[in-house]
């Protein structure tokens, strides 16, 4: 029976090629736009560490002056000053905790004729790798003792290892960074969480390639490497001594494994701030402890333009569906006489309904295939944009399948009204008119 409906539907679609082409085209444009923007949105709003994100928390405090403070409304600062970051780390209240800042490393290759180049670098503390599940190809991270001892060592990313050591196990070898020789203790496998949650607000980009060099915070500071972003909350006597300046330049992350641990940590954080207020260092008591996804939401890491485009695309799809409803309706009511004949010859309402739904489904599938083409074109266009996430915009298997789901759902929803109208037609008047 289904084959028969299929044949009927194809026949009917062929009979009015312009109308059919119009429907398929409109649906395809709507689907193409929706899938393109959804792919980008999904890419940008994804979970950078799905297995771990619920356990990672970002503590925030506020060392600013009282002026302009409204209790309960003023949000605490995004970054942390050095003394506070160190106090939180040394309290060891989480399973893991690390402070970090972004910097630029001047890497000097050993090869003759090779020019020095800048690489994105992270200065951080020992727990960084274990806390963020950064996978090692060779070797491993450094220890807290290395942090305190300003050990001259470094972890490099796989792509830098490929560039400098042709991918060989370089653990134990020496790399020259900012005119200092550092010993490599670990080489990471490709690791680039999207969005780059830990770089948010540290002055780096939110998406794109991972960092190339990871080195102990104290070691890097001893080498006079500076953070990418510094926010000062009072007049600064000497910007070079960031450890003592009233400036915030570190991000702190804590791993907390249970709800109780989170509650405990929040109490600890509030207590810490109250203590600082008592000491006269702080005037504001606001604190915050967001989990990873909450932090990304608060930071609005997904660009407004992308969300706007996604909304626009859905509006577009809605109009295209309404349009398809109208055209399908016109098409099937025009065939009232034919429906009358079929009904008079014994077709049930259900059969008529199914027949028209099959027709709508075929329009949907055709729209989906063409829509996929439009989506690929759209993504091609996005890859040529200057945005930092541009190169990541690809259609994956899920979005590929989702395209057909959207296409079928859209066309079947569009088909319901026309099919219903067709199946409730009384056969007798139609026969008479014919």
């Amino acid at each position: 029976m289904f084959a028969y409906y299929l044949e009927l539907a194809l026949r009917s679609l062929k009979r009015n090629r312009v109308l059919t082409a119009l429907m398929v085209m409109a649906l395809a444009l709507g689907i193409g736009a929706t899938i393109t923007t959804l792919t980008v949105l999904r890419l940008l709003s994804g979970d950078p560490l799905p297995q771990k994100s619920a356990q990672l928390f970002y503590p925030q405090i506020d060392p600013n002056a009282k002026e302009g403070y409204i209790e309960g409304q003023t949000k605490p600062d995004q970054l942390m000053a050095y003394p506070d970051a160190m106090n939180l780390l040394q309290a060891h209240r989480g399973t893991h905790q690390a402070a970090m800042a972004l910097t630029q490393a001047k890497v000097m290759p050993k090869q003759v004729n090779a020019r020095p180049f800048f690489s994105d670098a992270v200065m951080t503390t020992a727990d960084f790798f274990a806390m963020f599940d950064a996978p090692f190809q060779y070797g491993g991270g450094w220890t807290a003792a290395d942090d305190d001892g300003r050990a001259q060592l470094v972890v490099i990313a796989g792509f830098l290892n490929d560039k400098l050591f042709a991918g060989a196990n370089s653990v134990g070898r020496v790399i020259r960074i900012n005119d200092h020789d550092l010993r490599i203790v670990g080489v990471l496998k490709p690791w680039a969480p999207q969005p780059r949650f830990y770089a948010q607000d540290l002055g780096g980009r939110s998406y794109g390639d991972g960092d190339a060099v990871f080195l102990p915070l104290q070691t890097a500071r001893a080498m006079e490497m500076g953070p990418q972003d510094t926010e000062c909350y009072a007049a600064v006597p000497d910007i070079r001594h960031l450890e003592t300046a009233p400036c915030e330049w570190l991000g702190v992350w804590v791993e907390l494994d249970s709800g109780a641990a989170v509650a405990d940590y929040k109490t600890f954080l509030d207590g810490y701030v109250k203590q600082q207020v008592a000491l006269g260092r702080f005037q504001r008591t606001e604190t915050s402890l967001l989990d990873l996804m909450g932090w990304l939401r608060q930071e609005q890491v997904v660009p407004d333009d992308v969300r706007l485009q996604a909304g626009l695309a859905f509006g577009f799809l809605l109009i295209c569906v309404v349009n398809t409803v109208g055209l399908l309706l016109a098409k099937c009511l025009r065939r009232s006489a034919e429906i009358g004949v079929r009904r008079a010859l014994g077709a049930t309402r259900r059969e008529i309904f199914t027949q028209f739904m099959v027709e709508a489904g075929i329009v949907g599938l055709a729209g989906g295939v063409l829509g996929l083409l439009f989506a690929e074109l759209g993504l091609l266009g996005i890859r040529h944009q200057p945005a930092e996430y541009a190169s990541l915009a690809h259609l994956d298997t899920w979005m590929f399948m989702f395209t057909f789901v959207v296409a079928l759902v859209a066309s079947l929803v569009a088909g319901i009204l026309p099919a219903w109208r067709a199946c409730v037609l009384a056969p007798a008047p139609q026969l008479k008119a014919a």
């Binding site: 119009l22 444009l29 706007l308 485009q309 626009l312 109009i319 349009n323 109208g326 016109a330």
Partner: protein
């Protein structure tokens, strides 16, 4: 023509009428807001920076093996290297003037701070946020800034200091916008201000009409026109030079800049991105905005086309369905133009209903966008224009099927009833 029979006829095609009206309403709502967004982006992109942008270009370079800049001797060394570059560039035949500068409007790399009327004021609670441009006595002529009060910097005003040095300048020129914010009475000239919470005073010696900050992101919206110019050459292991070419000699001057700098000192990094015309800086800064405007424009056009196609489709169907009735009306004396007007009128009625719903939807959508995005209130003129456009679109789309209806011969009425 009375509307009554028409409405009676429409009631027999409720689904079709509702669909066309709905489609028009949705199209109106989306197109109005999209065009509004396009308008805002275009306005943003077209706002003047305050610079004379033609014949202007920027050179950014880094020295290799430069002194550290940590002690006075090495700062002096860096400054003499910068002065040598300036002299070389200024001696080029196609160059009108050159100024060393830390950034330019739209360059997205900025040094920001705050200005206060009292000394030692906390940084962020300062009276006004500002961006700083550090340059020398040629800055006004090079950038083409309009001095509206006071004086320009002289060579004697110009100091030099290391980039990390926190000392502020003793005199500044600022934009009128910033001066008016600090001194609403308009008597800023000669007044003393305090930069970045410093205790040392700074005197305002000149006012320029307009100068934009380097950042174009929304975070700069609160201080877009607040710029402060300091007569200071900053010394670091890199430098930037704003260069005004003689009229019509931009390409030649840009071409000559790199060899001239290499001739002065070959130990430096100058790559393809190092020499940039201001037109390129502008295009890069606003690329995302222009892209968004184009995308919105394309979507609007497609939406209008889809809607028009929908109207053509449904009206054609109605014309086919009412073939015989049209014949009867013609046989009873209706002229061709009456039939044409009937369908046009019918479309106008449906489109008007759609437009009214669309008006409400457009305002609702705008409120929604205002809640979730940085967006202003949609001016009524956009909605009114939108209504005119969708009504015209409906009339345009209905014309072909309506004319086909008007061509139905009266004899149709006599055929098989």
């Amino acid at each position: 023509m009375t509307l009554h029979p028409m409405i009676a006829a429409l009631r027999r095609h409720k689904a079709g009428v509702v669909l066309i009206a709905l489609q028009i309403a949705l199209t109106l709502a989306i197109v109005c807001n999209a065009v509004f967004i396009i308008g805002q982006r275009i306005q943003r992109v077209n706002r003047p920076t305050g610079l004379d942008e033609s014949n202007l270009f920027l050179v950014s370079q880094q020295w290799v093996g430069a002194p550290s800049g940590d002690d006075p001797a090495s700062v002096d060394k860096l400054d003499s290297m910068q002065q040598a570059d300036l002299a070389a560039l200024r001696s080029l035949p196609d160059v009108a003037s050159v100024a060393p500068i830390n950034s330019l409007p739209l360059l997205n790399s900025s040094w920001n701070g705050s200005v206060a009327l009292q000394p030692g004021k906390d940084l962020r609670a300062g009276n006004a946020r500002t961006t700083y441009y550090f340059s020398d006595e040629q800055v006004l002529s090079t950038l083409g800034l309009h001095l509206v009060a006071g004086r320009a910097f002289t060579a004697a005003d110009v100091q030099h200091q290391a980039m990390h040095d926190q000392r502020g300048p003793s005199i500044v020129i600022m934009t009128k916008a910033l001066a008016d914010k600090l001194f609403p009475k308009g008597d800023a000239l000669g007044k003393v201000i305090y930069l970045n919470g410093d205790a040392a005073p700074t005197t305002i010696v000149g006012l320029v009409e307009r100068m934009q900050v380097p950042g174009v992101g929304s975070w700069t919206n609160s201080f877009t026109w607040n710029a402060t110019l300091a007569p200071t050459r900053l010394n670091a292991n890199f430098s930037r030079y704003a260069i005004r070419a003689k009229p019509g000699r931009l390409a030649a001057a840009m071409h000559a800049a790199t060899p001239a700098l290499y001739a002065t000192n070959p130990m430096r990094v100058l790559d393809d991105d190092s020499v940039k015309s201001f037109a390129d800086i502008r295009a890069e800064a606003y690329r995302a905005d222009v892209g968004m405007a184009i995308l919105m424009g394309v979507v609007c056009l497609i939406l209008l086309a889809v809607t028009a196609a929908g109207i053509v489709g449904l009206t054609s169907f109605w014309v086919g369905q009412r073939h015989r009735q049209i014949g009867v009306r013609r046989a009873l004396g209706a002229r061709k133009v009456d039939i044409l007007h009937y369908f046009q009128m019918e479309n106008l009625v449906i489109a008007s209903v759609g437009a009214v719903i669309g008006l409400l939807l457009a305002i609702g959508l705008n409120l929604l966008l205002m809640k979730h995005f940085e967006m202003d209130r949609l001016p009524v003129i956009y909605v009114l224009t939108g209504i005119v456009v969708v009504l015209a679109l409906g009339q345009g789309a209905v014309f072909v099927p309506a004319r086909r209806a008007s061509n139905v011969p009266p004899v149709t009425a006599t055929r098989a009833v």
